[in-house]
């Protein structure tokens, strides 16, 4: 759905995006993570046919970037970093204006649908400037969805939203995924990226890595199981002697065991520990947080 080959964008001597290759599939929620100033917004602007790349090529929804940019803009929806609403106009007028620009078939009905979906119907005639931050964000998301785009670029969609509104947005992203729409999600909320994205890309001017959150964890840290023991007996780890164990370390009396396939290997591990007389309190698959993984990857890239 989104394919980029060697996409480059320069601003004078500054290279904002360097040789970006991407392949985002239909119906995928693709997380695009990176620090401020990494070039995420520039990437979104290029992929949504707002600015031209300095080099490289891309196709969006099957349309080659630069060949029919108007058609690309018709097929994508963009939620910018700031809601960008006409503050003096009502929510209704804001959405109606965009629905008409996108030549939506029945603009009034479509506007009503999204105002109701986001619980803004009762305040539809109030100026957007009188809305709370969360309401403004919801209105901006509604605007990005009005023309039912195949691809949605969302830049920090839950920033500034209260937990309830943020959940509404996350649920909506899930719904859009089930409708086979492609979502390109730029976020600093790593937990959100972990929960929502099928794949993530870590980006800092260049693409650092791409993959599903699980695959990236596996690549970086392997699969690990944490066994919490009531009483750790020194030397226990040396007696385990199981062929599938790659590595064992002890952290505060807890055994951290690196395995290839925890699902099939954990039962044998537990059995062996019981045989060795270990008092097992709990067994859990050790999941490195997305934040730790992000920090490690960024540090590695910086080094």
């Amino acid at each position: 759905m989104i394919r980029a080959n060697g996409l480059i964008r320069r601003f004078g001597d500054l290279v904002a995006v360097d040789c970006l290759d991407l392949d985002v599939k239909k119906g995928e929620v693709f997380g695009f993570l990176g620090p401020n100033g990494a070039g995420k917004t520039t990437t979104v602007r290029m992929l949504s046919a707002l600015i031209a790349p300095s080099d490289g090529s891309a196709s969006i929804a099957g349309v080659k970037l630069g060949s029919d940019n108007r058609e690309i803009r018709r097929r994508v929806g963009v939620l910018t970093e700031t809601p960008g609403l006409y503050r003096r106009l009502s929510a209704w007028d804001n959405l109606l204006f965009f629905a008409r620009l996108y030549t939506v078939a029945n603009p009034a009905a479509q506007v009503e649908k999204y105002l109701r979906l986001f619980d803004l119907w009762d305040r539809r005639n109030a100026p957007a400037g009188s809305y709370s931050k969360g309401m403004r964000q919801k209105l901006a998301i509604a605007r990005a969805l009005l023309h039912e785009p195949e691809i949605l670029f969302l830049d920090e969609p839950t920033a500034g939203l209260d937990p309830e509104a943020a959940k509404t947005v996350r649920d909506l992203i899930e719904t859009l995924r089930s409708e086979e729409r492609t979502i390109f999600l730029c976020t600093h909320n790593l937990d959100e990226a972990d929960r929502l994205c099928d794949r993530i890309a870590l980006f800092k001017t260049r693409l650092i890595t791409t993959g599903s959150p699980e695959a990236l964890r596996g690549q970086m840290y392997g699969q690990r199981t944490a066994v919490h023991l009531a009483n750790y007996r020194p030397g226990l780890e040396d007696s385990l002697n199981l062929p599938f164990i790659k590595h064992v370390e002890v952290v505060d009396g807890e055994l951290i065991v690196s395995l290839s396939d925890p699902k099939s290997e954990n039962p044998d591990l537990i059995r062996r520990l019981v045989e060795l007389g270990a008092d097992i309190q709990s067994v859990a698959e050790l999941k490195v947080s997305m934040e730790d993984m992000y920090m490690d990857l960024m540090e590695e890239n910086h080094a």
Binding site: I51, R73, T80, T82, G84, L89, Y102, P127
Partner: protein, 238 residues
Amino acid sequence: MHRVGVLLIKEWRESMRNKMVLIGVLFLPLVLVGTSIYMITSAEGSDPTEQIVLFNMALMYFLLLPAIIPMAIAVYSIVGEKEQTTLEPLLATPISDAELFLGKALASVIPGVLVSWISFGAFLLILRSMVGAVPLQALTAPWLAAIFGLSPLLSMFAVGVTVIVSSKATDARASYQLSTLAILPGLIPLIVYTTQKSLVNLRLIFLEGGILLVACVAVLYFAVKLFQREQILTKWKG
């Protein structure tokens, strides 16, 4: 053209809710029409030469309107988009650069020209009811050529200058102050009168019209070049 119409409606809807724009569009014409009428009626019965001079002064007021009104609208229309960060969502729609420029320009030029003409009409009607007849001094060829020929050019020039200035300005006030340069062509008859002591004549109006046409083409050329997605998103000051 459909999108130009959609943009025009949005622009006018927004302008109607902006006090600063409303003051510029409604209050100023009222003041200038009132001042012109007061000036002319108070000189009734005085020396005819003096009356002609006063009519020339009044004409200059009416040549300021087509520059000031579009400027007031365009400043808030462009800088307002920047201040509200609405430009990017707008540029993300299928609207073309030309449609966007045309919509913004017409949203300013049309009210500017219409209000100027309506003000002129009101000026004539009020004078007629007060003096008993439409003063012939106001219906001379230089007057009519200036009001109906120069007004659209003055409006377009003002919009072009405002677009150029607004692209570099970060707030509406700064943009407004710099854009006032656009009213200079409207002052040409006054400048000629005060320096040469010669009254407005058809030659002067045609000469000004010609110069203004060239200036309009030049200013609009740069304004259109500035009003492109790439430029707006990467070069304009936010």
